[in-house]
Symmetry: C2
Subunit: 772 residues, 2 copies
């Protein structure tokens, strides 16, 4: 019923509203014998970003879902943080949770692997898959669509996966075998060799039901996750392996073959199978307990209809994707909708169907009046992902903020999340970027959170006496490199975060706070070294870091750690809240433009650190990592939007696409994708927490967005072509618009942006007036 | 108010009902300046059993309480299972949970230790206490009363402890010190070197509040316990130690000094103290979560009044002890009430104040309509402890059974508990002795549990296809030693358990089941070897174990493991449900008596195993362990109750008392003490699950019991003296009573037993008629 209603909405509603999409004819083959029809979900290419740096996963997930069922090919390389690399030629198995695009691996909970012949309980190596349960596979026999993944393994078992919000189904089609089995490895994990399974347990509740748990000391230092699995056919027999040995009674002291606890457990469900016999396993997960995992499973998948789950998950995605309609080529549509898909995978719902979740304090809490989200990759996502949510997902973004406030309440340090992962604080990356998320939402009128409580949290966070020399920053005006790692980056990012606090203070009439935090916002100036023209680390006595090379990654081998994943030449642009101030420090607009140009044309060597990757570079500009993400738009601040246009189109062309290797850097829980979404629309939130966007250059002839408040925003780029990339003129809601900044107020209730594009730079935007 | 009411009840009520106790004048000094008055709690000697094999602990606990605060002197010796041995000369610290009288160590959760000077974070050794935080102490500066423990440590800190049900207070009186501190060691545990802390965490919620957790792979394989501690004075500073190092920020990636997770954590609250400055720490515990631990603490101890908690706990004990009034010497009163105290320490309430507990399936459950108990040392306690509860604690015993049924529901093996420990099945010892507990309660009319559900559970347990060769026992009539360890003991105990099932089947009208289980109850005959006259292990082909020596402990070095903690000469008497059958196998009453005599006069060597202890022996009779506990009473079955009288009085005199070394064997969660209680009353439940007791010889001139149903049972032993130990005659409720068996029906609603005692054996009881 519901599905039909949505379908109807799609066919009548969207077509009527936007009046296009009729040309959309997906070439991807129909999924699961559904009728061939125009569906936005068919543009989703789950393999995008799975080859190389993207670190996405190809398995199914619902929008912002808690479960992400998918194949794992690697569990020890940091470069394969999602567990799957398209270049790998064998699969370890299929696990229930994955991170999308992070630079650090974790999750990969509860690996299931169908086997034939003598069962194996160790994964084996990529070099010799036969040394374990690994199976070779070919991309020719692999497919992935929205809500669906399939692969034929070398052992003849065809595997299909689908996922609901907190559960999913694994569908195994076996060949004839006297020794078929489905193994579950609780020891499997996706977090390199540095982390470990602390403890686990398994319970064979009956011959069709298994529950289990593991406690992982991974990126999240103490992460609890439980599962409940139901098998469509009772197993003929079963075996638990513990520490490599069968867990059976040795006649000394009773040991149940139906349960075990330990650090290294596997479960084997044994079968004799006929040709093409299908055995399904449906699995629910929970951070609270096995009973909740079962509750989630029973509520979400109370049947064995695999196709129904696929259809329901596609229906959920279709509804989300209907927020946007674009004109463009098939490649552009696949790129666009896959970017939207990636942006809407994370943060993840982190509560059971009854609202229970495990908090930062490890207690079980119940989310009351909001939905608890997790996986806050804030150093990345404050930039464009959460600003995108403010347009398209305001309710969810408010609940993400409510989740952050709950985290704050439970924090022994009274800190908002830095990088939260399933009820754990990883302390990953730097800054306190929950602040720009909260302030950006507040400034943009998102009201479904308590602003008084939120202000208290952001201020308390910024006044923390212990965290990462914030107190020293406040006292002496910068973070000194002799007292604190990544001092250059921290100084710049704290200054930005403090600007955000000041904006909220101002709006709340807290003048004293406004003045205090605006003063801190200006602290970026204290590490600008006029003698070199770069941001430069300074020690607590005021001495500049010497020697100093602005192209040294991380600050260089000798001083490694001054800069967060970048060079001074990259980080020196990080003053999004006071670009005129930065322009002034850099000797005016002309010098500023010249130096921006040099960034993109730099041909010298950039020394690399272990985390440094070459992909995604244009000169020293590194689109593959977030510190560069706002830089192109700085041209617009200096009166040269045409140079921004050139680089935006270059990046869109060269670093995004519809192929597995199309992402040039970690998608970082959607930040790379959100950059794409904004940029193709023609504007970008250079300074979250401010009330305006910076206009660049649209990359699609037409984009229509149904905003979260139900209003429609339409962007047209008349005359756009491969050559016509320069804005000649712009009308915003019918008004001529020459300033390359777009106030949020102009689009918050929908509206229309009509760009006229041409082959050469025009006068448009060359006299920027930066809004307050 | 409540306390006064109870006091009043005591002074008026009990004195009026029983009409004695006026002579009771405790010599122990008044506790905490309370008025000197006759209180039964003053007879409790918490040190009884702490020296040697008793394995009790001296710290405070409420009746059946969840928390047992107390000193730990040892955490690596199996012989010091409770953590405290009176012979030790230094104390490691004070932990929150302890087991009473078990033979295997566990618990000892969350050790607190006050220090002065440079803080230490490892316990150090007994040989060199200065090598760690251990402190020397003297018994001269140590005291323990009901609900209260005190010791002055060498460092000048006086420590006082008291406990409520799930919480307690530690009261530290410091000397003047610039470096005073209170350390909490989460790595401390009482389970030898074989077990370990799997994981732990600590959170400094504020400067007066700390919460924490550890997961222990101990005797219980996966035991979760949490605490919440409040400090009466904010600490001046604090420090967390992780893996031996200060847990502080190293400037690379933020690390909070206010929280940590890991395998080896300590917390230090730092103070400057004035002379005699008191700092109290009150601590709540929970198996569910830190929030529940805090809830328990806040509900039970919402104040800082240490004396009030002591008074409330004493009040609870006074109420329990008022069930019994005895005449006797001070030593006898101290022995008796301490035995009652020990019998009422375990099983322990195992649910938070809101009813939540962690089940066998590790899920959080809520006890509905009953109280969840834990720590079921069933191989011991089915014998006399639970039968005692059926008289004195029927409601609690019913809830213990309800707890066992919940355990059964959550068991993947559909087995009732064997040896349950805080939501874990340890599989310790043998048999399925939840069965006699349930059946004894049912037969004796305890009705607050579902008999249909209970019968299903006992039958399913006895029909288990996997557990300890029960299925083979059912099939071939005994447990063969080539297939199963402890085969001799298992055969005998299964036969007894099956007798119990048959009794309940009969009562429920299940004739087929009755016949089936009565057949199994007769299986003991299959391992009686007429050629030696002893129970003897047999293999699956029907061959006797050869060589065979009935005095070989455990079956002897070569065949170690045939017998559970004993010799065939001890175990051959284990047919409590068919003593006539055993007499017949042993060639009649005269031979039977002769062989019983030989058991007590045996002077040969008994080869010993590692668990074998010499204490508690009379010949080969070993009162220090449970397999012997019923044996003395077998004389009464053979028409020689005077011989039983002699041995009962000998055991009561030699193996019980009011001193630290008075218990000759592990108290085993009250079984040793329950044997004492029954035996001094003059009867004993040789065969739980039957409807009668076996009469021995009373050891106190008068015992009055207020039964659980409110009725009074009075036992008088007229003429009793050190020499007058033989029953000359008996009147039961006014009727002459010559049969040495006492039907439960005669006393279930109270009544009066009047023994007349004399210096010589009489004709009384020499013509026994064993009830059906």
């Amino acid at each position: 019923m519901k599905f039909q209603a949505i379908q109807l909405l799609f066919f009548l509603g969207i077509s009527a509203v936007f009046g296009f999409a009729k040309d959309a004819k997906p070439t991807s083959k129909p999924i699961l014998n559904q009728k061939t029809q125009v569906r936005l979900v068919d543009y989703i290419k789950p393999f995008v970003g799975t080859k190389g740096e993207g670190n996405t996963y190809p398995g199914p997930s619902t929008p912002f879902g808690m479960a992400q069922f998918g194949p794992d090919t690697e569990n020890s390389l940091w470069a394969t943080a999602s567990g799957y690399d398209y270049r790998d030629t064998s699969i370890m198995g299929f696990s229930c949770t994955h991170l999308s695009g992070t630079g650090i691996p974790d999750l990969g909970d509860f690996l299931f692997m169908p086997q034939t012949g003598d069962p194996k309980f160790v994964p084996g190596s990529k070099e010799d898959p036969d040394s374990g349960y690994r199976q070779r596979y070919s991309h020719d026999n692999e497919s992935a669509y929205c809500g669906y993944y399939q692969v034929m393994l070398e052992n003849g078992v065809n595997v299909e996966l689908t996922a609901a919000d907190r559960s999913g189904i694994m569908r195994f089609t076996f060949p004839t075998s006297d020794q078929a089995s489905i193994m579950t490895d609780l020891h499997h994990q996706l977090h390199g060799k540095r982390f470990k399974i602390i403890w686990s347990h398994l319970r064979v509740e009956d011959s069709q039901t298994v529950t289990g748990f593991h406690l992982v000391n991974g990126w999240g230092k103490e992460r609890y996750i439980y599962f409940a699995a139901k098998y469509s056919r009772p197993f003929d027999d079963h075996l638990i392996m513990a520490d490599g040995k069968p867990h059976i009674y040795d006649t000394y002291r009773f040991r149940s073959r139906n349960e075990a606890s330990g650090q290294n457990l596997q479960f084997l469900a044994k079968y004799k199978t006929k040709k093409d016999e299908v055995i399904q396993v449906k699995i629910g997960i929970s951070p609270v307990g096995a009973n909740n995992a079962m509750m989630n499973l029973d509520a979400e998948i109370p049947h064995w209809d695999f196709k129904k789950v696929v259809a329901q998950t596609q229906e959920k995605w279709e509804k989300e994707l209907q927020m946007a309609e674009i004109e463009g080529s098939l490649k552009e549509k696949e790129t666009f909708y896959t970017a939207l898909y990636h942006a809407f995978l994370t943060p993840n719902v982190y509560q059971d169907i009854n609202g229970e979740f495990r908090g930062l304090d490890y207690n079980i809490h119940k989310a009351q009046g909001y939905t608890r989200y997790s996986v806050f990759s804030l150093w990345d996502t404050y930039r464009a992902t959460h600003p995108l949510f403010n347009l398209l997902q305001p309710k969810r973004n408010a609940d993400m903020i409510n989740s952050m406030l709950t985290h704050y309440d439970q924090s022994v340090d009274k800190l908002l999340p830095v990088w939260e992962l399933n009820g754990n604080e990883t302390w990953c990356m730097i800054g306190y970027h929950a602040v720009p998320v909260i302030v950006d939402a507040y400034i943009k009128g998102i009201s479904e959170f308590d602003s008084i409580r939120a202000y208290e949290a952001i201020k308390t966070t910024a006044m923390n006496p212990d965290y990462d020399s914030v107190a020293t920053f406040a006292k002496i005006g910068y973070v000194p490199f002799d007292k604190e790692n990544e001092s250059l980056s921290k100084t710049l990012e704290y200054a930005f975060d403090d600007y955000c606090i000041a904006q909220m203070a101002k709006a709340l009439g807290k003048t004293e706070d406004y003045n205090y935090f605006m003063k801190r916002a200006g602290n970026y100036k204290n590490i600008f070294d006029p003698s070199t023209g770069w941001m430069r680390p300074k020690d607590s006595n005021g001495n500049w870091r010497t020697p100093f090379d602005p192209h040294d990654y991380g600050g260089g081998a000798a001083n490694f750690g001054d800069i967060t994943e970048g060079t001074s030449a990259q980080y020196s642009w990080y003053v999004p809240h006071d670009v005129p101030g930065l322009i002034s420090l850099m000797d005016g607009k002309d010098a500023f433009i010249k130096r921006l140009d040099e960034l993109f044309t730099y041909k010298g060597k950039v020394s690399t650190g272990e985390d440094n990757e070459d992909e995604g570079r244009i000169g020293e500009y590194w689109h593959g990592n977030e510190p560069s993400h706002h830089i192109i738009y700085l041209y617009s601040y200096a009166g040269q939007p045409s140079k921004a246009a050139q680089r935006i189109h270059e990046v869109i062309r060269s670093q995004y696409g519809n192929r597995p290797d199309s992402l040039s850097g970690n998608d970082d829980c959607g930040q790379m994708s959100a950059w794409y979404i904004f940029s193709v629309m023609g504007f970008y939130p250079v300074c979250p927490g401010s009330s305006h966007y910076t206009i660049g250059s649209p990359c699609l002839p037409k984009v229509a967005m149904r905003l979260g408040n139900g209003k429609d925003l339409v962007i047209q780029a008349n005359g756009l072509s491969e050559k016509n990339i320069y804005v000649q003129s712009l009308k915003v809601n019918g008004k001529d618009w020459n300033n390359p900044f777009l106030p949020h107020n102009e689009i918050k209730d929908g509206g229309k942006l009509v760009f006229t594009m041409g082959p050469k730079p025009s006068k448009w935007g060359t006299a920027p007036v930066i809004p307050d």
